[in-house]
């Protein structure tokens, strides 16, 4: 998803003032999304006699989204609204990194020239916990390690032993 916030808020080049930047850039991002959708569904066949083709509905809704997005952006241009909020980097980055690490470790992954072997549930749960806890400013090492071990044990007991879900636990089998 493209991010409307990275456009500089009226840095002098605008003849008019953006009154409601949240709506304005939000609307622009929706238009961008709609354009991507129209482009991505462009090669699909459309109406075929009375019948809808696979491309009809996506293009229909994407066009509507572009129109509504434009209206939202326009309302941001015309009406006063709150300023853009700052984006936190630290929290989201660690949280997303933790989730991706879980996805990459549990069954292994090929990232260009690096290959991660499938590590199984125990290491991936532990790693995801430790990575995500770094997102908090109040992180303490000892406490976190104990909690990570406890949570890993809890998840293994719950999902593997109680619910009998077929998970690989360790890297070696």
């Amino acid at each position: 998803m493209s991010d409307g916030a990275n456009a500089r808020p009226n840095s002098g080049g605008f003849r008019f003032k953006v009154r409601g930047p949240r709506d304005f850039y939000g609307g622009l991002a929706l238009i961008a999304l709609a354009i991507v959708a129209i482009w991505a569904s462009g090669d699909l066949p459309g109406m075929h006699g009375f019948a809808f083709g696979p491309g009809t509905a996506p293009r229909l809704f994407a066009t509507l989204l572009a129109v509504v997005g434009a209206l939202v952006a326009l309302s941001g241009l015309l009406f006063d609204g709150p300023p853009l909020e700052d984006y936190a980097i630290r929290g989201p980055a660690w949280v997303i990194f933790a989730i991706l690490a879980f996805a990459g470790l549990i069954r292994g992954a090929h990232l260009g020239f690096v290959t991660i072997p499938p590590l199984g549930l125990v290491p991936s749960t532990f790693a995801a916990f430790m990575i995500s806890i770094c997102g908090s400013t109040e992180m303490r090492w000892v406490e976190s390690l104990i909690a990570a071990v406890a949570m890993t044990v809890f998840c293994v007991v719950l999902f593997v032993y109680l619910l009998q879900l077929p998970f690989q636990l360790w890297p070696w089998y």
Binding site: M1, P58, V68, V95, M151
Partner: protein, 501 residues
């Protein structure tokens, strides 16, 4: 009437099976346990706990999920009474007076009234669901593709009108949800649509991934921004669980009115628990002789929204069980669970699997009873759970969600998709877009497209079919009327007022 009783008797004979009672109890218990945690809403709770029902027989699994749903909702109320942060959207209103009561040392009474109000509303709603089930199922037989499409349009318009903030932005969210739901293979031709040649997208995006990302991960990311110091947990021991006689007298009218409001709003597609609790609270405040008590610990301000949200939660099963249309995100998860067990939701469930249909309805009543039984004695446990600092809580939630998503299809790419939707959800809140209409549209998208295509094909490409068939025309007219009402300046101001409170 006698038929109704016979059906309910069948239901109770199924639900009262020791296994099913066990599942119901377990569901209500874990639902409350997760629902109590601050920052996890009902949808995220049900999505998180979905995998634990996979191994059960169909009836047991659905009974347990229903239990989880009520439990999560009740857990959210507990949090909002004890901490000033609501556990989830439906408890925002309970927070207003409930937390004030708690600060005055009446947390016990607030929790007890919440439980009793929920229980009463649950009893009434069970009868409503049972009574409306049969007639609505026969209505469903009159519905063709055009009517289904119009009904879903109406549902989405309800979601727009009832979402907070701008109507235009809510419509944008609906369209975005519909568009996202179209990613993947086309139903009729199997052509890959908007998949960018990624094999992971060829089956479409799973609903649980979207829900978990937007309601789970995004919420955590946002909570990390807010300093957790602002959480004020009620200190001291909670004593005096039983409300006084005066409390009961004060609350009884509010409970009855809340139940009516909740049942009415719950049946409507797109409505549901959040709105009904808002509506019940505002209504109570308006008819009260001294409205200035509200917000300062009025017991009616706890009783009415709690009754309303429970009644609505239960009545939202009606469109799902009779018409096969999920009216909100939780019901969409129920559809997912039903599909996994090979049940196609819709009018045929009642005739083909009466034990499942009536068993579930009876289990609703049992579930509510369980809530009263387990919650009041366990308040101390929930309080100690709330003492767990957020810095340890959120990694646990993330890990649990990851394993939950992964376990549905054993697919790491599902986990990645939900991470992406976590970021999308974060971005949406930064621009004040409401995620609820998006998720509902995402759920209804495939059904809507299918019915739209069929209706157009049957009508030989004539789009006026939606206006010439009487039922469909009525539904569309209602939708347009609602939209105009919501856009009128006067009503818009009133709407903002309600949501600001």
């Amino acid at each position: 009437m006698s038929e109704l009783l016979a059906n309910l008797a069948l239901g109770f004979s199924v639900a009262a099976h020791p296994y099913n009672i066990g599942f119901c109890l377990l569901g209500a218990l874990v639902g409350t346990l997760v629902g109590v945690l601050p920052g996890i809403g009902t949808v995220a709770t049900v999505a998180m706990l979905l995998p634990i029902t996979f191994g059960l027989p169909p009836v047991g699994a659905l009974i347990m999920l229903a239990g989880i749903y009520y439990g999560a909702q009740y857990g959210g109320s507990t949090t909002s009474v004890l901490v000033n942060i609501p556990g989830e959207a439906t408890s925002v209103v309970t927070c207003l007076d409930g937390h004030q009561m708690a600060r005055q040392g009446r947390a016990g009474a607030a929790l007890a009234i919440a439980a009793l109000a929920s229980f009463f509303a649950g009893c009434v709603a069970t009868v409503v669901v049972a009574a409306l089930g049969t007639p609505l199922t026969s209505v469903a037989l009159l519905f063709g593709p055009a009517e289904y499409f119009s009904l879903m349009v109406l549902g989405l318009i309800f979601a727009v009108v009832l979402a907070k903030g701008s109507v235009l932005k809510a419509i944008a969210m609906i369209l975005m949800g519909l568009l996202l739901s179209m990613i993947g293979s086309d139903l009729e031709t199997g052509a890959g649509r908007m998949t960018f040649d990624l094999p992971e997208l060829s089956d479409g995006i799973g609903f649980t991934n979207v829900a978990m990302g937007v309601f789970g991960f995004a919420e955590i990311i946002r909570n990390l921004e807010i300093s957790q110091e602002s959480r004020e947990l009620v200190k001291g021991k909670i004593k005096g669980l039983m409300p006084t006689r005066q409390d009961l007298i004060d609350a009884s009218g509010a409970i009855a009115r809340g139940t009516v409001v909740g049942s009415l709003l719950g049946i409507l597609p797109g409505g549901g628990a959040v709105v009904s609790s808002f509506a019940a609270y505002t209504f109570e405040k308006r008819i009260s002789k001294n409205p200035e008590r509200f917000g300062r610990g009025a017991i009616e301000g706890v009783a009415a929204p709690e009754a309303a949200n429970n009644a609505a939660a239960q009545c939202s099963f009606i469109p799902l069980l009779t018409l096969g249309i999920p009216p909100n995100a939780v019901m969409a998860l129920m559809v997912g669970a039903m599909t996994i067990h090979g049940i196609v939701p819709g009018p045929q469930v009642m005739t083909k699997q009466p034990d499942l249909f009536w068993g579930m309805i009876a289990s609703m009543w049992l579930g509510n009873l369980m809530l009263v039984i387990i919650n009041l004695p366990l308040v101390g446990v929930w309080v100690s759970l709330l003492r767990v600092p957020y810095r340890l809580l959120y990694p646990s939630i993330i890990v649990f969600c990851c394993i939950g998503i992964y376990s549905i299809n054993n697919s790491p790419s599902d986990v990645i998709i939900s991470a992406v939707f976590g970021l999308v959800g974060y971005w949406l809140t930064k621009h004040e877009f409401e995620p609820a209409p998006l998720v509902l549209a995402f759920v209804l998208g495939p059904l809507m497209e299918e019915n739209l295509r069929r209706a157009m094909l049957i009508a030989r490409g004539d789009a006026t079919v939606f206006l010439t068939r009487p039922i469909s025309a009525g539904l569309i007219a209602l939708a347009v009327g609602l939209l105009i009402l919501a856009a009128l300046p006067m009503i818009r101001k009133r709407r903002e007022e309600v949501f600001v409170e």
